[in-house]
């Protein structure tokens, strides 16, 4: 009898639960949404009880497809950087403060003063910033001291679900590393950072490897989610880590780019890379032997969606008439403009920017318009703009003497655009591989971790079993030369406007 693996990808908007056969076949996938609560001053929260409800619902649906006893293991990839405070009995003390929450700006300053930015970068591998768990816990301590005092452990998203299934408080290295209370050099909690932050190290859970069976489904959990009692629960990883497993970025030199709403370039390395300009950052892999140097841009698909909503009325109307995808029309129209969009630049900083600029005040711009430009040039410029920013990140990584091995994969919704994927290959000047399941990488990563945890797979380098390369995009030398000319101007245009962005804020 075949064995099956369940992977929950706990995203920001909902849980995508996927059932895989051990041979890598995707049997069924179901997504259910949970709400996000926005509050004052950058507060963004979710109710973990609602995470759990949705996980139960999706699990039950998957279990209608197979014999529940043939499920060999369940595992997770989850949104990272959150702070979920729980008491000793496992009760929630408040909503979870999720990754997108930015209220803890004052706490960031405290760490900066007491610990120092540069030292922080060299300890955690990351830039100090109010988006991560540690400053959120500091915020709770200052504003809700009662809750802080009663907090036994603070967990990340997937850790909470693991707790609900097994009753075990635990986290893995990938999630731990993005709390920013983690020492990337030692691969363990950074007690000196916690001390400077004034938070109690006891409130952080034990760290295990991602591909570890941390417990079994309890009787109570079984009754709620339908998985048989005793089903092995494999810890899993933060979504970034799972994505790397799902794209085979599990050995030094392996790399992938993900172009979703936000986008990132990641390259696996032996040791963290401390870029002198702090443009790119480090996270631990699901296999904590390795780390990954990475840079995330805020508005990739977001820029393209913005463009679709605001510059593509014609395509939207046409698509409505013909039933053909609006993206097909948008790409066809953008393709009327040549490489370089006739000298028009788009700076894709509609959400400010993380890598490579780390400037919350950065703004989007079209620069270089003349009477000869059409809206099709603008469309192409948007697509090229996101690829150029990815190019700056890739370049920042390469400047640290990081070798790239093999053909990097590229995943995410945006690479369905022929213009985006070609521009990315041209700007990186490297072959890029597209798989048949570009949207399933994190789920496959979680499934691989599940399989590794229960001994179905010998190691994490298993993504070929789950998906195959269907297309290789080659750089076109003429375009490579052109983008080589454009990229420094793109960078310079951002720098030229930095002061103006401050004034528009």
């Amino acid at each position: 009898m075949s064995k099956y693996l369940i992977a929950h990808d706990l995203g920001t908007s909902g849980d995508k639960a996927t059932l895989f056969c051990e041979d890598g076949t995707l049997i069924h996938s179901v997504t259910k949404a949970y709400p996000i609560y926005y509050g004052e001053k950058g507060a963004v929260e979710q109710n973990p009880e609602e995470w759990w409800q949705v996980v139960c619902e999706t699990t039950q649906e998957l279990l209608t497809k197979v014999d529940p006893h043939s499920v060999a293991a369940v595992s997770f990839s989850g949104q990272m950087m959150g702070c979920t405070c729980m008491d000793r009995e496992g009760r929630l003390l408040r909503n979870s403060i999720i990754w997108a929450d930015t209220r803890s700006v004052a706490q960031e300053k405290i760490i900066e003063e007491r610990y120092g930015r540069e030292k922080f970068f060299h300890t955690t591998g990351f830039r100090l910033n109010p988006s991560y768990s540690i400053t959120k816990l500091m915020w709770v301590k200052e504003h809700e001291p009662e809750i802080y005092r009663n907090t036994y452990k603070t967990l990340c998203c997937k850790d909470y679900i693991v707790y609900r299934l097994t009753g075990v408080f635990v986290t893995d290295h990938t999630d731990a590393s993005l709390t920013l209370a983690y020492d990337i050099n030692k691969r363990g909690w950074a007690y000196d950072v916690m001390e400077a932050a004034g938070v109690d190290p006891e409130k952080f859970p034990a760290i295990e490897k991602s591909a570890t069976v941390v417990g079994e489904v309890t009787r109570e959990a079984s009754a709620q989610c339908g998985l048989p009692m005793g089903t092995p629960v494999v810890l899993g990883s933060g979504d970034g880590g799972a994505g790397r497993v799902g794209t085979g970025v599990v050995k030094p030199g392996r790399s992938y780019s993900s172009l979703g709403t936000s986008a990132w370039v990641s390259v696996c390395t032996e040791q963290p890379v401390f870029d002198a300009k702090e443009r790119v950052v480090n996270v631990v892999n699901a296999d904590p032997e390795y780390v990954t140097v990475s840079g995330t841009m805020q508005a990739c698909g977001a820029s393209i969606n913005w463009m679709r909503e605001n510059l593509c009325q014609e395509e939207i109307a046409l698509a409505r008439e013909t039933g053909i995808s609006k993206y097909e029309y948008i790409n066809a129209n953008a393709a009327k403009s040549p490489v370089g969009a006739n000298g028009l630049l788009f700076l894709p900083y509609l959400h400010g920017e993380r890598a490579p600029h780390w400037n919350a005040h950065a703004r989007g711009c079209f620069i270089g318009l003349t009477m000869k430009h059409t809206v099709n040039d603008m469309k192409r410029a948007v697509m090229e703009g996101v690829a150029l920013n990815m190019g700056l990140i890739f370049q920042a990584i390469r400047e640290n003497d990081i070798a790239i091995a093999g053909t990097p994969k590229v995943i995410g919704g945006c690479i369905k655009s022929p213009i985006v994927k070609q521009a990315l290959a041209d700007i990186y000047n490297i072959d890029l591989a597209l798989t048949n399941l570009p949207d399933e990488a994190t789920s496959m990563g979680a499934a691989i971790l599940a399989g590794c945890g229960v001994g179905l797979y010998p190691h994490q380098d298993m993504c070929e079993r789950f998906s195959r390369v269907v297309e290789t995009v080659h750089p076109i030398p003429e375009n490579v030369r052109k983008y080589r000319e454009i990229l420094p101007v793109f960078q310079e245009a951002y720098e030229a406007l930095r002061d103006v962005f401050e004034k528009l804020a």
Binding site: W306, G340, G364, F366, E485, V489, A496, L504
Partner: protein, 506 residues
């Protein structure tokens, strides 16, 4: 018997003929287009025979609305800054090199080296560039020596039409001041400039007042264009001057704004400006006693029509359905975005820029986009962007010309946008008046000059009687404050990108 006056505006895209009754009522206006010939290295030419054909055709069509015996006089506004070489018989020796032509960069540099840019600005009232007649004639001398040798006079568009009608070689002070071979302070050809350019001063036509009857329609011309032989021809002036007369600006202290494809702020003054940064220029007015201190931006209406063509698919579709003007919808949608366009800037340098930056490499830009911005913010930003650039120019004129009026007539198509007229009032912090003749200002100016030339009118300020103010837009103090905050950022955004513009040419 009622008298009529005929005005021709020899523009870039065509000739606009307009017939006015002596009381200033517009009877009919007609546009006849002619082609522009573009070629490499910034060459932009027109065929003067095609000007004349257009003038003849439009005149004949006008004559369908009036008895030719009732037309008392004709006059002109015309595109300036060109060079049309004609021989002794008035026959063109080549196409006319028109104002938009920029091939004569080397020649401009030659004058800079031999005369000096600052001295040049002081003498001519203009910045030295490749856009004006003098360097174009130098180019012809160096590249087409035969043509130069046979050139009897270098004319402008209006001069040529006057020549065709009357057989007289002449130009007026306003057109002369646009050749940059003219001394704005001494009000005569600038012999020292012409000498250092190495040109023959005799190739420039005699300068007359634009308000004079320069001649009468010849039999031959009458046969071609249909006008009555012997009808008085009043010389007229450059198109900018005529729009100023048509807006009632004839005396020092008067000020007008024209928001056409390009746009200009013009103040009538007794003395030329001498802006230390040379950001504004001085033309001779059609009344040679006075000058106009002006700053022209390249892409005002041009930016708005670019926006209409590229960002307003929805409005265009709606307009097609309902028969309403696309601009009505465009303004409605742009009005959904507040003053300041939610922090979005548009730099309107789609054609490079003249005033205030004088940078042919400048480019258009949207700066400050976030996920929250919509296409309506972009539309609003374009409308505000042209007004802000006009505001920069206005502030410079204010530095140089004291006592500007607190209400100004604004003409040109873009003035019809309620957003534009409000933003203009707010940014200038003065009231903007639009008139029923605001789109006909150039033609009305030429008609008034025609009437004055034959003694029909006591002065050239008749526009103030003829036009009706249809709307006055007053500044809103809250907006005034807001734009005071935005304008320096708008200026800084342009400056930040000065190093980038020339690199955007892959």
């Amino acid at each position: 018997m009622t008298k009529y006056l005929l005005a021709h505006d020899i523009g870039t895209s065509g000739d606009k003929a307009a017939l006015f009754r002596e009381d200033g009522t517009l009877i009919k206006s007609i546009i006849r287009e002619y082609p522009t010939y573009y070629s490499a290295h910034g060459c932009v030419e027109q065929n003067p025979e095609e000007w004349w054909q257009a003038v003849c055709e439009s005149t004949r069509e006008i004559l369908g609305y009036v008895d030719k015996n009732e037309i008392a006089a004709v006059s002109f506004g015309g595109q300036m800054m060109g060079s049309l070489c004609v021989d002794k018989n008035g026959t063109p020796l080549r196409n006319s090199i028109i104002w938009a032509d920029t091939r004569s960069g080397k020649e401009a540099q030659y004058i800079a080296d031999h005369y000096g840019r600052d001295e040049f600005y002081y003498t001519t009232g203009h910045r030295l560039s490749s856009s004006h007649s003098i360097t174009k004639l130098m180019w012809i001398r160096d590249h087409e020596p035969e043509v130069y040798k046979n050139t009897y006079k270098s004319l402008n568009s209006r001069d040529y039409i006057v020549l065709k009608l009357t057989g007289v070689f002449a130009t007026d002070y306003s057109d002369a001041s646009g050749t940059l071979a003219y001394n704005i302070r001494k009000k005569c050809w600038a012999d020292d400039v012409i000498e250092s350019a190495g040109l023959d001063i005799n190739k420039f036509p005699e300068i007359h007042s634009g308000l004079e009857v320069i001649g009468y329609v010849t039999e031959k011309a009458a046969a071609e264009c249909g006008l009555k032989a012997g009808m008085p021809v009043v010389l007229g002036g450059g198109d900018g001057c005529m729009a100023r007369i048509g807006s009632g600006c004839e005396r020092p202290g008067e000020y007008n704004i024209n928001l056409g494809t390009s746009a200009v702020n013009g103040a009538v003054c007794a003395e030329p400006a001498n802006d230390p940064k040379q950001r504004i220029v001085t033309w001779c007015h059609v009344d040679p006693r006075y000058v106009s201190v002006c700053g022209t931006m390249q892409a005002c209406g041009a930016s708005i029509s670019w926006m209409k063509n590229n960002l307003c698919q929805e409005e265009k579709a709606l307009a097609q359905k309902t028969g309403e003007s696309v601009y009505t919808y465009l303004n409605e949608n742009a009005a959904k975005s507040p003053v300041g366009s939610n922090g979005l800037l548009f730099l309107p340098y789609l054609h490079g820029e003249r005033s205030p930056h004088w940078n042919p490499d400048a480019k258009g830009a949207f700066i400050g986009l976030t996920m929250k911005h919509t296409a309506n913010d972009m539309k609003h930003a374009v409308l505000e962007g042209v007004c802000m650039n006009m505001g920069l120019i206005h502030n410079i004129i204010k530095e140089n010309v004291p006592d500007l009026p607190d209400q100004v007539i604004v003409s040109g198509g873009a003035a019809n946008s309620p957003i534009v007229s409000q933003a203009m009032a707010d940014i200038y912090n003065i009231s903007m008046a639009t008139t029923d003749l605001s789109e006909e200002a150039g033609s009305l100016g030429a008609a008034i000059v025609a009437g004055y030339g034959i003694g029909l009118y006591p002065d050239i300020g008749m526009a103030r009687q003829f036009m009706k103010i249809t709307k006055v837009t007053h500044p809103i103090p809250e907006n005034v404050e807001k734009y005071k905050e935005i304008l320096p950022v708008f200026q800084e955004a342009y400056e930040s990108l000065i190093g980038i513009y020339p690199k955007l040419n892959w």
